[in-house]
């Protein structure tokens, strides 16, 4: 019986990781109107960078996570400044460039870290677990859930309670209008892109003790982010959160119940949403 409870915890944990990935993806999409197809690569590369810091340089887990996040922020910033900005105005070209970069990153990772998965030890402070109500709660997974909740709250506060957030929201709602009222939209693009990349990289390392880091992690995660955003609606934080949890549950339960068709089950809600409510559950109708 407790397998279901374990699955439920795993699902929420995976949902938390997905949220770290998809929140930034959704914000970038909402603001810049492009699906950043390097987002899965940033998750993977963040995982590799962080794992190297731990395995090779023996840095503590949290410092490694910080470095992974910062490295991805810089990487994302470079992509935005030097490639995407050159192509501003041509959304399709921007999308294709992010796709091209994702291939380069994937091959680069294969070259540097080889094809073997790298597993990362759970940080010692969070090893083990707690027994309660006859169930075993692994501390690390609970920590991921808490971190995802804290980051969701911080993002919410950033968007709803700060000047920067107000500008981002204005940009998501109507970039032309935002420009007219004097918001430097191009600067916002860079900030949001860096933020999204940092969250993805951070998520990559957070996921490493559970998923490990391996070639193909990028293309495993990217479609999930796409599905979360299609499900939750572009640019909606709440949509990302709920979409992530839904997908977390479907993925974990699907793997156990219909292992051969798990991937198919995962995309069913997307299909339903597309048919019934193409703007996503929490997205607004396109004008």
């Amino acid at each position: 019986m407790s397998i279901w409870a374990v699955l439920a915890i795993n699902s929420i944990t995976f949902g938390g990781l997905l949220f770290l990935l998809s929140a930034g993806f959704s914000l970038i999409f909402g603001l810049m109107r492009i699906p950043n197809l390097t987002h899965g690569s940033m998750f993977m590369l963040g995982g590799y960078v962080g794992a190297s810091m731990i395995v090779t340089y023996h840095l503590p887990f949290w410092l490694a996570a910080l470095i992974a996040a910062l490295a991805m922020a810089v990487f994302g910033g470079l992509i935005e400044r030097f490639l995407l900005r050159r192509l501003s105005g041509s959304i399709l070209a921007q999308v294709l460039v992010t796709l091209g970069i994702s291939f380069i990153v994937a091959d680069f990772c294969l070259m540097v870290w080889s094809g073997d998965p790298i597993s990362v030890e759970t940080p010692s402070a969070l090893a083990g677990g707690t027994r309660a109500l006859g169930l075993f709660f692994p501390t690390y997974r609970i920590a991921i859930i808490l971190i995802a909740v804290v980051i969701a709250a911080m993002l919410w506060a950033l968007l709803e309670r700060t000047r920067l957030g107000a500008m981002i929201r204005a940009g998501v709602d109507d970039p032309e209008m935002a420009r007219v009222v004097g918001i430097r939209v191009s600067q916002l693009f860079t900030i949001v892109f860096c933020l999204g990349a940092a969250l993805a990289g951070f998520g990559g390392l957070m996921g490493a003790p559970i998923l490990s880091v391996y070639p193909g992690l990028d293309t495993d995660m990217l479609p999930l982010a796409l599905v979360v955003v299609i499900l939750g609606g572009v640019g909606s934080l709440l949509g990302s959160l709920i979409g992530s949890i839904v997908i977390g549950f479907l993925y974990n339960f699907g793997l156990v119940m219909v292992p051969e068709l798990a991937y198919f089950v995962l995309f069913l809600p997307m299909v339903l949403v597309l048919v019934l409510r193409p703007q996503g559950l929490f997205g607004r109708q396109a004008p």
Binding site: L99, I104, F108, Y263, F267
Partner: protein
């Protein structure tokens, strides 16, 4: 005879005589592979170049056709039935694919096709009892239409060439037809086309079906060519290669995707002989082409050469890059 006709005739002669002047069976096979991917790229170009819709999920349809043939043959079904099944299954799959993807246009279309393509990959990879998972499926042998055995590379090449020429002619007729004109209209001004009395959604849907037909044909040819099918054929990289072929040569033309597939396949085969980093090169070429030659190599080279020749003359106000045609401002222009 006009210059284009001379060029066309020369190209035909070159294609027909490939087994005579290409050194060895390996390279004849590479030529077959180029033709197969050219059909695939033509299918993608019908959408990118003529409908303004970029699909990143076509490898899923390609794979669906290949897998259907392979699964049927493995089950002991004959070649004709296997090919017929592949056509039916993949066209039905395309209809679902188009029905869902056309809920959006522009970027939304790209995202949905990408996700749908990944479903196909996930099924190929995980549905082990049908697809054999990572091990893939080996096809017992090639068919022998009208008693002609296709085992020799040159024989298979001619069969592929015949199908290739047929699809090129069919695509040419398609894009020059009144329907082709309707399709191009929906690419450029969908709202206006609606006001003029066109059913924009249905036009796009039919274009997807035609594109799916070409993709199915390419997928069937491929599984017979490789005599094997496994998940990597279905992955996102394959879809992206197809898009690269279509846009690198110049989308919205018929020659473009063909040139693109020659280019990509040659680079891929040459590159993989010397370095192991094909994906990195693919990515780099992709980025370079999008940034420096968004209109594709054929028009792009023409433009650069012309500019170099007429340094003093006025630079023509080149037509906007065809690749930008799909980039409609709103990510989710609601389909009617």
């Amino acid at each position: 005879m006009t210059a284009p006709r001379v060029a066309l005739a020369a190209a035909l002669v070159a294609l027909v005589t490939v087994p005579l002047w290409v050194p060895g069976d390996y390279y004849i096979s590479v030529c077959s592979q180029i033709l197969i991917y050219a059909v695939f790229a033509l299918g993608i170009d019908v959408l990118i170049g003529y409908a303004g819709l970029v699909s990143l999920g076509h490898a899923g349809l390609f794979g669906l056709a290949s897998y259907t043939v392979a699964v049927c043959l493995a089950a002991g079904v004959g070649h004709v039935a296997a090919i017929a099944a592949a056509l039916v299954v993949t066209l039905a799959g395309t209809a679902v694919f188009a029905g869902l993807s056309l809920r959006a246009t522009g970027i939304g279309f790209i995202m949905i096709t990408l996700a749908l393509g990944q479903i196909m990959w996930g099924l190929a990879y995980r549905w082990v009892s049908i697809t054999g998972g990572d091990n893939g499926i080996t096809v017992p042998g090639r068919p022998a239409p009208f008693g002609l055995r296709l085992d020799a590379p040159s024989h298979f090449y001619y069969a592929t060439l015949a199908v290739f020429l047929l699809t090129v002619v069919a695509t040419w007729v398609f894009v020059h037809s009144p329907f082709g004109a309707s399709l191009k209209g929906t690419r450029d001004q969908p709202r206006r086309m609606t006001a003029l009395g066109y059913h924009v959604w249905l036009i796009r849907f039919y274009a997807c079906m035609f594109s799916g037909l070409l993709t199915t044909i390419a997928g069937i040819l491929f599984v017979y060519y490789a005599e094997f099918i496994s998940p990597p054929t279905v992955q996102l990289t394959s879809s992206a290669e197809g898009v690269l072929m279509a846009i690198s040569g110049g989308s919205g033309t018929l020659l473009g995707p063909i040139v693109g597939s020659i280019l990509v396949e040659i680079v891929k085969n040459v590159a993989s002989a010397y370095i192991a980093r094909w994906n990195m090169m693919l990515g780099a070429i992709f980025v370079a082409i999008v940034i420096f030659m968004p209109e594709g190599l054929v028009p792009g080279t023409t433009r650069l050469v012309r500019r170099a020749l007429k340094l003093r003359g006025p630079i023509p106000a080149g037509a906007p890059a065809p690749t930008t045609a799909a980039a409609e401002p709103a990510p989710g222009e609601p389909a009617p």
